[in-house]
């Protein structure tokens, strides 16, 4: 027995010895195990591009920013819960955290990665760089029109350990936008391109349309400086218009589909707290506007009605198919907007063609929204009626539902005149968004102190 045990000991020790040696530290502590097999270290530009575009369509011109300022502009009325809070002009830094973070980490960060990747020597792809620059400029433009000064020069440099970026003035951001768009136009014209633009859900790699988009965005922001630059702004805008969109087919739209549904559609499905605003609906109804049934659903009585600002009328019409169908595209920039820009610039400069541009803008809008020309209605209500700034901005206001532009135009021009919402907690419609709570918390040394009643640089 004793002897047997000794043999067992020996065998055991041998087995354990082999076990320990075979699984020695170096083999066991294999650092390759710490490489995530589900997360690539690098991806091609064509896979980054649709992600940027999706985020822009969903967040920049989707529900978050647009719902809030369209409530303020009375296109919508927040009838319940948080949307009712927004109706009463309450918008806190925490409320804009999500959109701020989407803009910087999803849209602008990945656009910057594309721009940098496209410059890699040996495989330089200026066309791709140009597309990245147009997207970055478009994002910067809408962002600065809501927030004023924003980080750019030191932004997107977290991986270089710049964790608290300084803020660039709105004037400087505007210069950046124009310069990015100029570079984009040059890059899009460059025929020495290595990697073709693929993965593009907006223009499917059509460089010509990207050039038009670059010019159109440029026109938008030159016009926005009308109060700062006066006639120079109009002149610059007109110059850009000439290279811009030439029909609705050029519209810079972000598509939605069955699987990935329109943001307002999703909001109405999951939250339901907004209804069409009485200001817009009354305006449309008064003119028997053909866009009405596309902008609004029938209300519970089978009519089209809006909730007055702060009126909490949840029996009013819900947003219609043009705004809130599950597959309704969201609009980064449209041909109709460009024609309104042209009309305003020509009118301001006293140049001919303002009337034509105005009529073309409304016609483009009606066609885009309704799918039909509605010529008779245009002839009766728009065509030939002498163009004024108020007419232009009012029609632009109707055209611009579910975009950020009416809010930008209202601050710039004061049109249309809006009443203060019932139950408002401040005496005026906010003139800017607050900075995100995450900036107040984690970039406190740089973020300017603002109130939502402050006016932006171009709005002084």
């Amino acid at each position: 027995m004793k002897k047997t045990n000794n043999n067992i000991f020996k065998n055991l020790m041998a087995v354990i010895g082999i076990l320990l040696v075979s699984v020695s530290c170096n083999n066991w502590i294999d650092h390759d195990l710490n490489i995530d097999p589900d997360s690539p270290a690098d991806v091609p530009m064509s896979l980054l591009l649709p992600a940027i575009q999706q985020s822009m369509g969903y967040n920049l011109v989707g529900n978050n920013t647009v719902r809030t300022n369209n409530i303020w502009m009375q296109h919508f009325d927040g009838t319940d819960r948080q949307s009712y809070t927004e109706t009463r002009y309450q918008l806190t830094p925490a409320d804009v955290n999500n959109v701020w973070s989407s803009i910087y980490t999803e849209m602008m960060m990945n656009s910057t990665i594309i721009i940098n990747k496209a410059r890699i020597e040996g495989a330089a792809s200026p066309n791709f760089e140009g597309v990245g620059q147009v997207l970055l400029a478009t994002s910067l433009g809408i962002t600065t029109d809501l927030f004023g000064s924003i980080p750019y020069t030191e932004a997107f440099k977290g991986s270089e350990n710049v964790l608290s970026p300084s803020y660039d003035s709105q004037e400087s951001i505007y210069n950046t936008i124009f310069s990015l768009l100029d570079k984009a136009l040059a890059n899009l014209d460059n025929s020495a391109n290595t990697i073709a633009v693929e993965g593009d859900v907006i223009y499917d790699g059509d460089l010509n349309k990207w050039k038009k988009a670059a010019n159109s965005i440029k026109a938008r922001h030159h016009l926005q400086l009308s109060g700062v630059n006066g006639n120079a702004a109009y002149t610059a805008a007109l110059a850009a218009v000439s290279g811009g969109f030439t029909s609705n087919a050029d519209d810079m739209l972000v598509p939605f589909e069955d699987k990935n549904r329109n943001p307002i559609y999703q909001f109405m499905e999951e939250r339901t707290d907004i209804r069409m605003g009485a200001t817009l609906i009354d305006m449309l109804a008064a003119n028997d506007d053909p866009r009405l049934p596309f902008y609004a659903e029938e209300d519970s009585d089978g009519n089209f009605s809006g909730s007055t600002p702060g009126g909490q009328n949840d029996g009013a019409s819900k947003p219609g198919s043009d705004i809130a169908a599950f597959d309704a595209s969201t609009k980064l920039m449209t041909y109709s907007e460009l024609k309104f820009i042209e009309a305003e610039a020509r009118l301001a400069l006293g140049q001919p063609g303002a009337q034509e541009a105005y009529e073309a803008a409304v016609a483009a809008s009606v066609l885009r929204v309704t799918g039909a020309a509605n010529q008779a209605w245009l002839d009766a209500n728009i065509n030939g009626i002498p163009v004024t700034l108020e007419n232009i901005i009012t029609q632009k206001y109707i055209d611009g539902v579910a975009t950020n532009q009416p809010y930008a135009d209202w601050r710039r021009t004061g049109f249309p005149a809006l009443n203060i919402a019932e139950g408002a907690v401040i005496p005026n419609i906010p003139t800017r968004f607050p900075y995100a709570q995450s900036e107040l918390d984690y970039n406190s040394e740089n973020v300017p102190s603002v109130s939502i009643s402050d006016k932006l640089w171009w709005d002084q």
Partner: protein, 1069 residues
Amino acid sequence: MKTNLNGILTLFLALVVQLAFAQQRTISGTVTDQDGLPLPGVNILVKGTALGTQTDFDGNYSILGSTGQVLLFTYIGQKNVTRTIGTSNIIDIQMTEDAQALEEVVVTAVGITRSEKGLGYNVQTVDAEAISTKPNADVVNSLSGATSGVQIVNSSGEAGASTFITIRGSASITGNNQPLFVVNGLPIASGGGSSGTGGVNTSSRSIDINPDDIASVSVLKGGAATALYGVRAANGAIIITTKSGKNLNAKKIEVHSSMGIDVISQVPGRQKKYSQGSGGTWSGGNAASWGAPIAELEYDGDSSYKWDPNGRLVPKGTGNGMPAKAYDVYDFFQHGTVSNNSVSISNGNEQGDYFFSLSNRDQEGIVPNNKYGRTTVRLNANTNISDNIKFGADMAYTNSRAVQIQKGSNVSGIMLGLLRTATTFDNSAGYEFADGSQRNYRNGGGYDNPYWIANNIRFDEDVNRFTGGINLNVKFTDHLSLTYNTGIDWYNRRYVDQFKINSRGNPRGYLGEYMNFNSVFNSDLLLNYRNDITDNLDISLTIGNNYYSTNSKFLFGDATGLEIPDFYQLNNTSANTTSTGTSRSRTMAIFADLQLSYDDMIYLGLTGRNDWATTMPENNNSAFYPSASLGFVFTEIDGLKNNSILSFGKLRASAATTANIAPAYQTTNNFVSAGTADGWTDGVEFPYAGQTGFAVSSGLGNPDLKHETQDSWEVGADLRFLNSRLGVDFTYFNNNNTDLLMDVPIAASSGFTSVFLNAASMESKGIEISLNATPIKTKDFQWDFVANYTEFSNIVTKLADGVDNIFLGGFTTPQVRAVVGEEYRSIFGEDWYRDENGNVIINDDPTDNFRDGYPMTNTSQGLVPIGNFNPDWTANMTNTLTYKNLSLSFLIDVKSGGVMYNGTAFAMNFFGVHERTENREVYYTADGSIDFDRTPKENIVVMDGVYGHIDSDGNVVSNGTKNVTPVVQDQAWFQGNGSNFGGGPSSAAMEPADWVRLRDLTVAYNFKKLSPLIKDAQIYFSGRNLWIDTPYTGIDPETNLGGATNAQGMDYFNSPGTRSYTMGLKFTF
């Protein structure tokens, strides 16, 4: 070898063969203790045979034996007694207490058993009795109130709900704070069951353990106790030992059956006087209940109005005469039922032992269709291959299955749809129309009808789990031995998440299919040396090696927009998405444990462990963790020895450095599959528009990570008086956690939202006092008393530079945060405008937009600290009264201090359904002011605060005069600052969450020898949460919205807690 095989054969034969013995007679007698009181459960063995028995509850026994054979009487804490059978058939025994009785053996880290007498740190043990009669599915809930220093929060009363446990506070900011669970030496996967603010409440994986299998649970609290677990030691450890057949010497069959019912405990009150609608007018489909008085309404009987079978509500006299009424929404809940059956068979002798068990639990929750079920099988077997070699294996299989129902902040959440339901809407009058669309109080919009949810949305979870290990013990000499213990914990977790078409959350239907395989491998090799160096000095040295690896992989697919209704298949959609995730890690360690004891008086322990980990950067993957502990039994000093008053006294002190490591994949920055959401909606993902999309991960990796460090120390005293009839144990502990790893949030404008850094520090310190006493002990009656008191603070001392708070969970407001200088998990939210003395400002400026006489929400200062769920102190007392065969045991649990966000009530205010909105009747005079003569007195209130207003610069202007302006709490108030949706501050919804509760009560009756077959039988009744006294006005405040997460203290339409009644039977054959 042949002998050994025979031994094994014999052992297994013993399973099925009852051996008969001839030529024997029955010996009987009574066994008593040194006070002459009967001792039940004394083991009696006929030496040299497998024949044995136990004394019954009166200390009586009988056994077959023949003259000359030797009877061995053994009982824990008593000296062994042997008697040779002579001529008498009666052998009465009086046992005496063993001086070594205090040397209760406890299981410590890495399975090393150690005499409790010499421990230099606090370990508490919970035995099987305290667990098996409690009705909880998850054994962790049965530890509630059983020890000091342990905090347990059961997230809700749903069947299979998660449970959150921490020991001595938290050690990590955003990482795991729950202890390591070890079963029979194998560290197992535990935790889980956390969720967001919506979704379902899934189980914590500790639920997979059959409570009836547990012999004892050791709670290792401090660093010195857990130091040998190295990188897994920072949160304490729960060491579970399952039952075995060791030394039974007779076959033992135990059967345990219980049946129970659960009923909802407290729920928020709802007003019953006013109908659905707004502005005093009934309006069908309206979100709120600010309509006309119910007493003034009747139905119109219009059958074309599809939302109510009785038609619309119209003013009295204009309808069909059928009066309106308020429905009781709580009728929705049902009585939950629990049935639990387990059977075990065990035996053991010198050649080996086994324990085999089967159990099944089936539970239906208080919410219809919420279910939890568990089936377990366990076999523990050991064989002594020779005197020197012991080999054993244990294996357990568990199937855990649950059907969970949507909860919380979720348009398909049960309580959300239920509690918001308008007073005059009857959810139970149908939830679905013939066309499949939904009937709910919002006339199809808003939130799901709770009946719809319970019947049409399900989350089926199924876990199949196998844990098993083998252990080998080889004794080379009396001094030197080797132990090898290795095991695996494998489980496969699947769930199917189904939303029927027309649910509000997923109107076009939804299916999610998830599969996860999770494995843990552990190997411990220990070489032990024990020797008495001199008469006074004993040494014990263990050196060891540990390998540990984890591997987890999931595959998830979902389909939104089902084409064929009610057909839940991933291809039943125009588009579906899939994703996978992997997490792998390994650690290796070598360790040593040196224990010295001098004269049974001074015990010194030193341990050291070095860990290497794959999740750390390659050049920084090693760390060393030492500990030292000292136990000084001063009652061994000559002058104090054998003192009749102070029978035992020990002072102890220990210190240790332990740690946590980074989770996998934090050292680099990668790209991830893209997708986005806006905080309001489900959002969008990829594939999208026929494209694949990636984006750079918003969390920055870090190649310079270090191990987290926990430096801890504790001192304590263990004093026992009057022959241990009274004992007091006191511990002071201090845990200092530094270099804590966390995703440090950074400004999104950097392009990233977080970076993973060793950034934070946190301190946890406090006291634990345990008291145990046996105030009365007579032949028939005994009263035992055990109490625990815990008080500690858990302060965040440092976060990353430039970061003053970390989001742990919750909402935009309020949210749970870690903030420097504040208690960990402070709740932050908006507050009222206040003056510099903290008084609420009551508006006195008739020209501004704020209502006069009411407070105003300060939206400009952002979020401020508004409370914390952590208690100031907790205490629990267990009294056990035994009279003859009857015993009564009850546990009173006290939590003092701590607040919770009652978001449920705050939202119910907005909807005009909370009972506090009932006093709303108000009359106005011609000039628009309140008519105090006609308005009922109880409806007029004066808001607490001082007069003031906000000037144009946003500053508070107040002269500090106390507000006396009477106002009414009307719809405008509750849909304004009196509720969350109206813009009221979260601070107004914080409520004290203290409690005193009768957590457990058990009455048991033990039957003496029912029949020759049945040795023991017990019938018991047990109740849980039979009585709760709390100032909290919502559901039972032992709840948490996010389940088992670091973010505690949130109640937003949480599912209610339960009161349980259980009746059980136990038989021992």
